[in-house]
Symmetry: D2
Amino acid sequence: MRVGILTGGGDCPGLNAVIHAVVKKGIQHYGDEFVGFVEGWRGVLDNNTVALTLEKVDGILDQGGTILRTSRTNVRKIEGGIEKCVETLKANKLDALIAIGGDDTQSVTNALIQAGVPGVGVPKTIDNDLNGTDACFGFDTAVSIATEAIDRLHTTAEAHNRVIVCEVMGRDAGWIALTAGVAGGAHAVLVPEKQIDLDHVCKLLKYNHDHGKKYGIVVVAEGAKLPDSGAQATHGTKVDSFGHARLSGIGSILADEIEKRTGYETRSVNLGHTQRGGTPTAYDRMLSTRYGLAAIDLVHQGKFGRLVVLRGTKIEDIPLADAIAKNRTLDESFLSILDGLEPKV
Amino acid sequence: MRVGILTGGGDCPGLNAVIHAVVKKGIQHYGDEFVGFVEGWRGVLDNNTVALTLEKVDGILDQGGTILRTSRTNVRKIEGGIEKCVETLKANKLDALIAIGGDDTQSVTNALIQAGVPGVGVPKTIDNDLNGTDACFGFDTAVSIATEAIDRLHTTAEAHNRVIVCEVMGRDAGWIALTAGVAGGAHAVLVPEKQIDLDHVCKLLKYNHDHGKKYGIVVVAEGAKLPDSGAQATHGTKVDSFGHARLSGIGSILADEIEKRTGYETRSVNLGHTQRGGTPTAYDRMLSTRYGLAAIDLVHQGKFGRLVVLRGTKIEDIPLADAIAKNRTLDESFLSILDGLEPKV
Amino acid sequence: MRVGILTGGGDCPGLNAVIHAVVKKGIQHYGDEFVGFVEGWRGVLDNNTVALTLEKVDGILDQGGTILRTSRTNVRKIEGGIEKCVETLKANKLDALIAIGGDDTQSVTNALIQAGVPGVGVPKTIDNDLNGTDACFGFDTAVSIATEAIDRLHTTAEAHNRVIVCEVMGRDAGWIALTAGVAGGAHAVLVPEKQIDLDHVCKLLKYNHDHGKKYGIVVVAEGAKLPDSGAQATHGTKVDSFGHARLSGIGSILADEIEKRTGYETRSVNLGHTQRGGTPTAYDRMLSTRYGLAAIDLVHQGKFGRLVVLRGTKIEDIPLADAIAKNRTLDESFLSILDGLEPKV
Amino acid sequence: MRVGILTGGGDCPGLNAVIHAVVKKGIQHYGDEFVGFVEGWRGVLDNNTVALTLEKVDGILDQGGTILRTSRTNVRKIEGGIEKCVETLKANKLDALIAIGGDDTQSVTNALIQAGVPGVGVPKTIDNDLNGTDACFGFDTAVSIATEAIDRLHTTAEAHNRVIVCEVMGRDAGWIALTAGVAGGAHAVLVPEKQIDLDHVCKLLKYNHDHGKKYGIVVVAEGAKLPDSGAQATHGTKVDSFGHARLSGIGSILADEIEKRTGYETRSVNLGHTQRGGTPTAYDRMLSTRYGLAAIDLVHQGKFGRLVVLRGTKIEDIPLADAIAKNRTLDESFLSILDGLEPKV
């Protein structure tokens, strides 16, 4: 078979491991040929392709990024975009398309499937908030990087009797903040699922201070919000040195507020792009590989319109449309982990 | 309540994180008191205890090993052992006992439960082969360490056109070998679940050699066996420099055989104890913490005779007796990952 | 002998390793007693002390931060400060004082020496810019952390065809930026020793872009300056959400400018406090240990007023006053490394 | 100019960084052309070459191993070898040759220089024992890997009240053992420069045991010797499962002896090839880069017969013949570090 493959949306450690597994099994076991589209849907719109051979994927398993590169181009917002994609896929004489990406990417895959394209999806979101799967690759790597950073912040915060606020990724869901915060022994963890209770945070820090721990680590997801979120938006707008309006990060805003309210010297750090680059963890390499193998199997089983997912220890598949319906956010069983570790203040 | 706690069997990254979570939630939320038994069941037999306070568990979350230390003392092999344990537990006026350990440890817990002790189990095996749970803490850390080592071996093997055989842990199950082998891009992975096919391994290495990859990485679980396992046992017995009979590792035996059969220069390395020490990964810290929180909750719900387990993304509990019934080994869905990535030779 | 010890200024990986070495050799070989002053000179002013025993220093060798904590309290800016210190030292019946710190700390040590205190200095600056020594501990750790971050940024920048500006520590000297920039394969490295030539940076990025490398990594020291530094100060001042005037980082300013001038999507990340926390590298642990051993030897040789330094592979000592005279900045032999690796544009 | 380049002897993290720097500066600044010889001197003997372009060296800076591969082929032991090499170099119309390697490699370079070849050497030995330079690249990486392993061994040894003997590289010199041993807080460090005093080691372990530290870490260089070294050689010879006589490692021998003498459960681990693979540390990447830049500068300055070296913070050059004259071993100033940290037993 002749199979197209692309990676869309924000990059994520493990994308190359998926490509590696798809192409290896496809060529070695099924005798497939592979056409890679460069920079996600943009490459489909422009018919910008590269042949994916065994040589091309050799040694990419442990590399971050994606050899196909990626973009946030959303075909559905482009007039005639879906038709243009269908045309390109036909022109390339493809028997199937494997799309690796998150919500936005898969909503296009879904539209193409409606238009008759034989497509299969591989879920990708570093925020781990895709519905229908127990885990998304890249998440474990992001959490590992954030946890190592938090480990390091402990010692410098303690040496200076400081509070340090560490901002991590997570717009709509607090999976990274919760996991890295708990793993890193943070004294407070703030997530988008629950409005920030600044009073409570300050009480926790004071309680620790009064009980001998004169420093504090606060982990906050970028999407966590202060009660008056309108105010945050306004307050947070800084006009920067070049006249651009810019929303300052919640981490920096929180640090200011905590220092003001507690009197403790407080600093902030935003881990930013370091969380999504570099070699994937062993966990993510294994998960990506299993996703890739399952995706090419689906193609050869003719099971189109499906998304590969992890359920417990098994790789299964679900209707692609189900996954993009809604976000998977932290439920009470996860939020209660934080309560379980906190002192009563 | 007054709760006893112990860690038994081989040590494992995450033991301290379990203790940390149990004690934090127990004291802060339930007002419990904790008695730690030193060195597993040995400490119960000898009534060797230490009080576990918030101060004692502060900062241990990210530390390898176990502050309670451990031993392989098996109470059931000691005459009157179970009675002695029941006595100690009574003497300490305990309302419950939390035992963290694998098969051997939990079989004692089970015997004590039969004898009326209100016990709860937390599963622990770095080999990840305990029945009834999707994952055991410590395993992810071991896999990470092994994968990083395999990553490093690639470059030195390639620079010298060598084959390197890397022996990892796994007596009865090949979870570590499979996961680290796949994550590390090994060219052959050998596990206890499947007799070693040396011919096939050599064919794979030759195939790669003939296709331009003049080096090879073979990952082997310590428990993997050559066809004539009697022969292996005999051959492997070396009388060492001090007259001790010693079974040489399968890695070293394999390296000799591969070199003999292929003519490629072959070396072996045994990762040994480096795989079980040191700080746990973020994944293991989170899993251990969740196990600890769930265990102390079970105690307060009066659900004794239960073992906490991971099922998908949820922490649940199962009858302790079920977990020790049989080992969880690699099934076909996992073994087929290896086939999926191999060339046809 | 009875010896005082303190750590002053910003914290730095390796401080505990110095304390560890001083106390171990002092007690085991010389039979000394140790008095630790808490939070640098503040602890001397307040006579806030802790006894340093073998138990206290056991296991601290590999820990970041400092068990004595630290502060930036500058005695010389406090009226009667020096006298107060001399008094405290006398009250504690000390035969010697070992001060671990940078410029500010050692200028106080020097003043105390003038006032008759038998003092010895151990140099400390994570920026590596202390005069008279080949290397300062903490620097290698900071460079390692920054390099690992830059490694990670490559893949995400490449996947998105982006420029990423990475801001690292270094107010007056560019040692961290230069070393991590070269080690991390950055496409441009900007240091305080040389005014930023934005035209040149953009030319380099465009040259790479035109030659197939459609992404870029720029490493900038926090103290690097744009030509019109007055303008930078003004422009950089943002009034943040709580009305505090705040100087935005050079990394963020540069990213805006680069995007404006080149049209390439550009992001910035500031590694901040993650660079100074956590376990020291093996290099830093060894250097700190050697400094500590040499410092306690100096005390017993009666060589006061000296600072221990590294010269080649040897630990030597120089007059403490020499070290604080001026900063060690990048000279032409180091700056030319950058030229050597750049294309001619 | 047309310049040949090769890497010889055991591989070492940083080899690619040297090649990267040589080729980048050579092509971009001097307009050179580069011919790489494959697998060290073997490639010169066989005239097996590869053109080294900017594309070939792009992205290799941070990779372990060597893209030119390596071998231990010693031209001087081959009749007519030197003549054959001179011939190949002439046939390739080379204006200069840069040889990256240790003792054996450079002794050939030296012989070629005597025969009129315009050669320059770059020192390489992971053992760090080359005379005339303060540091060799690869050493810092090996020490880092060994130290991280030792860090991990502490927790597992402590959890089980065990002694663990960790064998590291170092045939003639104990630089890795000493540095990693001190950095890793080992309780005893044994090096080739000083006959092993087993009594003293056991006394140290017993002293610690009696003072509450019931576990021990012993680091031993592979080349360290027991008093009766003849006996060691004989005792150590094991006839393995395939009839090969094999010298078992000193680590394993020591573990047996320590257990026998102290009664403490003792295990051993040999870090082996994991120490020389993988990405170099930032320190090694910088040092390799500086060596590479200096080597191509020497070529253009016509300074042949020289070896680039590190002296303090400066890159200098010395007569190549000086470096291979004798090994640089640990002197008293380094050995005394161990005494400084030990208790008196």
